[in-house]
């Protein structure tokens, strides 16, 4: 199996010149397990995750994955790399007017020519896999429904199926549970952990719910002000660490 670990070196992102959101991030993410990134809103967690698949352009630094520097890729090379990086979004980002099946198959678009994609000529094996994934996420009977007819939890299940459909070698999740109720949040995390575990896909997840992160993730990274301030085992995360990450202390029970 190919090496699925990720190395980030000196990653800086400035949306405005001279105002860095990420101030030189160095991280090594192992090729398996779930890594949680926690931190207050606006601290650059989302930016960090989006730099990895280049939905956001890094200003400087390296993102090393399978011998490539993702930060330097362009055009076809970048698209080829993106095919191997799955992503799950906070607001699901399904294409509302496509059916559930079409949304799941979107995960294979990187392998389709424009003409075949337009005519929906997906290989039968992809379609078979999409049905079985929908079955796994509990939406077997929803394949032909439009995405905008689904509830939040159902949408996120489709979002996960779409990402897994890519056969990703790393899975990014940008606050996948922040728009969901507590029970559904747990179910979604269980689903991601289960699917990624069975396929040996390392997961990097931004998450606001510290308890949920501790429950599912093997490693916690705490960020504040565009820097990593905690990196370690969930059990090692103390109230003092949380105070440093989020500031203040009245909110800690």
């Amino acid at each position: 199996m190919t090496d699925r670990s990720l190395k980030i070196r000196g990653l800086v992102k400035e949306y405005k010149r001279g105002v860095p959101v990420l101030k030189g991030i160095d991280l090594d993410i192992a090729g398996d397990g779930i890594t949680a990134i926690i931190g207050p809103s606006g601290t650059g967690k989302s930016t960090l995750i989006r730099c990895i698949n280049r939905l956001v352009e890094p200003t400087s630094g390296q993102i090393l994955f399978q011998g490539m520097d993702l930060a330097q890729l362009k055009g076809a090379e970048l698209r080829a790399a993106r095919r191997r990086i799955g992503m799950v979004f906070q607001e699901y980002n399904l294409v509302e007017r496509l059916t559930v099946m079409e949304n799941v198959l979107t995960g294979r678009l990187g392998y389709m020519t424009a003409f075949k994609a337009w005519l929906r000529k997906f290989p039968p094996s992809d379609i078979e896999e999409a049905y079985s994934l929908l079955d796994t996420v509990g939406l077997a009977n929803f394949a032909n429904q439009r995405a905008d007819s689904l509830s939040g939890g159902q949408r996120q299940r489709v979002g996960i199926a779409r990402a897994v459909m890519q056969h990703p070698e790393i899975l990014l999740a940008d606050e996948p549970t922040s728009s969901l109720d507590p029970k559904t949040s747990v179910e979604i995390m269980e689903l991601m952990a289960d699917l990624a575990g069975k396929r040996n896909i390392p997961v990097v997840v931004n998450i606001h719910n510290v308890e949920l992160a501790k429950r599912f993730c093997g490693r916690m990274i705490g960020m504040t002000g565009g820097k990593v301030v905690f990196d370690g085992d969930p059990s090692a995360l103390t109230d003092a660490n949380l105070k440093e990450i989020y500031g203040g202390e009245n909110w800690i029970e």
Binding site: L55, R79, A81, R82, I85, F89, N93, T106, A117, D148
Partner: protein, 286 residues
């Protein structure tokens, strides 16, 4: 503690002054153009003679043939012009959407749209008549230009309002630009695009009956000739026929909307996914 003076509905003096100025200008301009009641009354006399000569409308043999020939030509002009216009408007609209295209593509595309929209179809028809001669081809040319201008502009605006989150997700899968278009962009605007097209078909139908007046084919030429010969009963017959055609066109575009917009996914259009459960959002489409 001092309190600020409280006024829940402060007067907007500049706006008030603006309305007043507008009203004053309308009154002044009307006086300039002899737009007065007495002028209207003195014209009524003429209208009475004109209207009385219109009745009964003349649908007799050879006249009816002329009407049918003219209307058929108008209908053909409208449908051909809409078809060509739609095909050209699709890429131009995509190119001029600023959230998809870089400036060096969107700017020229916008220029094309602005040029197409500069003139009324009748003026464009005159230009085409001078360039390619009398007949339906000039009318088709004029209405193609009008269709490109209208559909591309509204299509581009619709694209500029799409949700980029959906596009982002498709991009993240490693899809090529064209696949992002067909899966992330078009599904979001397809219903509205069809709405613009049926509206333009409707509008082309109306305009196709008019371009004939300048010699660009269709029933308009027949109508103009009848006016020139003071053949008012024939004029009324033509007008009634045009009204019927427009009504028929209205019904046709309603059917088109029902067929396309109630099953709005692109796959439905290709005969797949027919069991698509559609969430009726007609209001959103209009």
């Amino acid at each position: 503690m001092t309190t600020l003076p409280r006024n829940p509905f402060p007067v907007n003096w500049p706006a008030r002054f603006g309305w007043l100025a507008l009203a004053a200008y309308v009154v002044w301009a009307a006086a300039q153009l002899d737009f007065t009641w007495s002028r209207f009354v003195s014209g009524l006399d003429n209208a009475q003679r004109f209207l009385s000569r219109m009745f009964p409308p003349n649908f007799s043999g050879d006249k009816w043939e002329m009407i049918v020939k003219g209307l058929t030509e108008s209908l053909e002009i409208a449908i051909i012009a809409s078809a060509i216009g739609i095909i050209i408007a699709l890429p131009i609209g995509l190119m001029s959407a600023r959230n998809l295209s870089p400036v060096w593509i969107s700017w020229p595309a916008r220029l094309v749209i602005a040029l197409c929209r500069s003139f009324h179809p009748v003026i464009v028809a005159i230009i085409f008549v001078k360039a390619v001669g009398f007949g339906a081809i000039a009318g088709i040319g004029a209405l193609v230009i009008a269709s490109i201008g209208f559909i591309s502009k509204l299509f581009a605006e619709a694209i500029e309002e799409i949700s980029l989150k959906q596009v982002e997700a498709v991009r993240a899968s490693g899809a090529s630009f064209f696949n992002v278009l067909t899966y992330g962009v078009l599904p979001q605007v397809f219903g509205r695009f069809l709405g613009f097209c049926t509206y333009q078909l409707d509008s082309n139908l109306r305009n196709s009956t008019m371009v004939g007046i300048v010699g660009a084919g269709g029933v308009g030429g027949t109508l103009f000739a009848a006016f020139q010969r003071f053949d008012y009963d024939f004029v009324l017959a033509i007008l009634i026929s045009i009204i019927s055609l427009i009504f028929a066109g209205e019904i046709l575009s309603n059917i088109l909307r029902a067929v396309f917009l109630d099953n709005k996914t692109i796959s439905g259009w290709f005969g797949k996914g027919t069991s698509t459960t559609t969430v009726a959002k007609r209001g959103e489409e209009e």
